[in-house]
């Protein structure tokens, strides 16, 4: 068996592998700018929280109409946005800090979501919702993921400068009359959309990994935001390919394999990336004269 057979064989032979690959590539591409800005805004954990928050909404969709893509997606978007906005509002109106407020919401959401899924479905259904089923992506799911990626790219093209300004110097944006709050809201909507798009493929718990891990790794490869986004996209795609191939040959579950591949790249980035990694700091060359 040649290397080519090992790498390309599964994708040539099986349609479901090709579909999984396309879905993961689309998710990696649109997740890259989302992840980079989540990390920049110190919201990496908020991504995780919102992924959990989607669960009860998707579960209600599931309860009402089974594995209906539309119902679960719609429910997920509504629940995710509600939690994001409610948690933000509570932290502004009361002394509770935003992270504590987010944490309480997501714990309740997780409990509620698992409860609702178990009301109707079996443990298998619960596993599907939590961990996804990337090897069974149908046309409708692929179209949904691709559409969300398209919307994400268009939206970023429009809000990019505002978002950078709002992250770096929100006070400046406020004094010149820029709509910082609106930009933050659009960004939250995009986060929720991507999480919902991804949860079909990778499951609510795993999808954040494909968004945040490549972004967190990318800062070890580049200094600029634009290049970090490109690096994150490449890391996401490589993780998807490696994860799919490994899971195919070793018979491992797919979404954990993808996330672990991203985790391995993250470890390599921390150890040996060109920008601020441990190795780079250890190998610091003789200092210059000026």
């Amino acid at each position: 068996m040649t290397l080519l057979d090992i790498v390309a064989g599964p994708f040539i032979e099986f349609g479901f592998m090709r579909r999984a690959l396309i879905g993961c590539v689309a998710l990696s591409l649109s997740g890259a700018p989302i992840g980079v800005f989540l990390v920049l805004r110190r919201m990496s954990l908020m991504g995780d929280v919102m992924a959990h928050a989607i669960l009860p909404g998707a579960a209600v969709g599931f309860l009402l109409s089974g594995f209906s893509l539309f119902a679960m997606t719609f429910g997920g978007v509504v629940a995710g946005l509600t939690v994001a906005l409610a948690a933000g509002a509570i932290s502004r109106a009361t002394p509770l800090k935003e992270d504590a407020s987010f944490a309480s919401f997501y714990l309740v959401s997780l409990g509620l979501g698992v409860l609702i899924v178990s009301l109707k479905g079996s443990n298998i259904d619960l596993l599907h919702v939590l961990f996804g089923n990337v090897l069974a992506l149908d046309d409708a799911s692929l179209i949904l993921i691709a559409s969300i990626a398209t919307v994400t790219f268009l939206a970023f093209a429009v809000i990019y400068r505002l978002l950078v300004a709002e992250c770096f110097d929100p006070g400046f944006l406020r004094t010149i009359g820029g709509a910082g709050g609106a930009v933050h809201f659009v960004f939250l909507v995009l986060v929720v959309l991507n999480l919902v798009g991804g949860f079909n493929a990778l499951g609510t718990l795993m999808v954040v990994g494909l968004i945040v891990l490549p972004a967190a790794s990318s800062r070890f490869w580049s200094e600029g935001i634009g290049l970090q986004i490109v690096a994150a996209a490449i890391i996401g795609i490589v993780s998807s390919v490696v994860g799919l191939i490994v899971s195919y040959h070793l018979g491992l579950p797919t979404s954990p394999a993808i996330i672990l591949a991203a985790g391995a790249i993250h470890a390599v980035s921390i150890l040996a990336g060109p920008n601020g990694s441990i190795l780079r700091q250890a190998l610091r060359a003789q200092h210059l004269r000026g």
Binding site: R161, A165, C167, F168, T175, G177, G178, G224, I225
Partner: protein
């Protein structure tokens, strides 16, 4: 170009009902250059925030005349910014061109050339492509001045612009501010260095929550006035009753 002016009428700005600026009345004249001085907690930064519109008056009014609020050039205290942000120095300066570029417009070559010229004017040429994280505190402050320069505002508010920078840099930046003043812009600067204020700034507002004195610097910064301002108690009185001073 007519310089903007600011009229405060019996202005009170407060945090949770505790006044930080208390019953201030007076006018920053068109083209004036005023230093705002006073002890810590005297309400200096609060006053600037009120003028920009970041906080609303509790009572009284601030009328900004001759310029829209969103056109004011405002340099806040440094601490708030994330210095580790992956942004180039040139891009930071170019934010000052926001009024020309807008949120969506293209930044042309000519605009970038202006941004480079502004960095040059504050002594940061050669730093264009470095990230802001690689700048020292004083260099970062100069980059913010370059942004302010590009904003080209006729009303400029500076909140402790020279805190934590060395004397030479402070002098160079103060010279830049002096040039803005001669160009007819209205300038208000919160400052700590009384000597520098005496030397180079024509008007002074001395406050300790309540206004102490406001006018030509030499008349304001007298021993008696400064002594009065020092008697300000920094802590708010938790048992303070509602202020019943009648509106002026």
């Amino acid at each position: 170009m007519a310089a903007p002016s600011i009229l405060c009428r019996d202005l009170t700005l407060s945090y949770r009902r505790h006044p930080a600026v208390h019953h201030l009345s007076g006018r920053f004249a068109p083209g004036s250059f005023t230093a705002v001085v006073g002890p810590n907690g005297a309400g200096k930064s609060t006053l600037l925030k009120g003028i920009v519109g970041l906080i609303r008056p509790d009572s009284g009014t601030i009328e900004v005349d001759g310029i829209r609020r969103t056109e004011i050039g405002y340099l806040p205290q440094q601490a708030a910014l994330d210095r580790g942000f992956p942004m180039r120095v040139l891009d930071l300066a170019a934010m000052g061109l926001w009024r020309q570029s807008g949120a969506f417009g293209r930044i042309s070559g000519a605009m970038l050339a202006r941004a480079e010229a502004a960095l040059d004017a504050v002594g940061l040429s050669g730093f264009e492509n470095r990230t802001v994280g690689s700048l020292s505190g004083g260099q970062f402050q100069r980059a913010l001045f370059a942004r302010l320069l590009l904003q080209d505002s006729r009303l400029i508010l500076l909140d402790e612009p020279f805190a934590a920078i060395d004397a030479r840099t402070a002098e160079a930046l103060l010279a830049l501010v002096g040039r803005w003043h001669r160009e007819g812009r209205t300038i208000i600067a919160v400052l700590h260095d009384m000597e520098a204020v005496r030397r180079s700034i024509p008007e002074t507002l001395l406050i300790a929550r309540d206004p102490i004195a406001w006018g030509p610097t030499a008349d304001v910064l007298t021993e008696a006035n400064i002594d009065r301002s020092r008697r300000l108690t920094e802590a708010f009185d938790d048992d303070a009753e509602a202020c019943e001073r009648p509106a002026a």
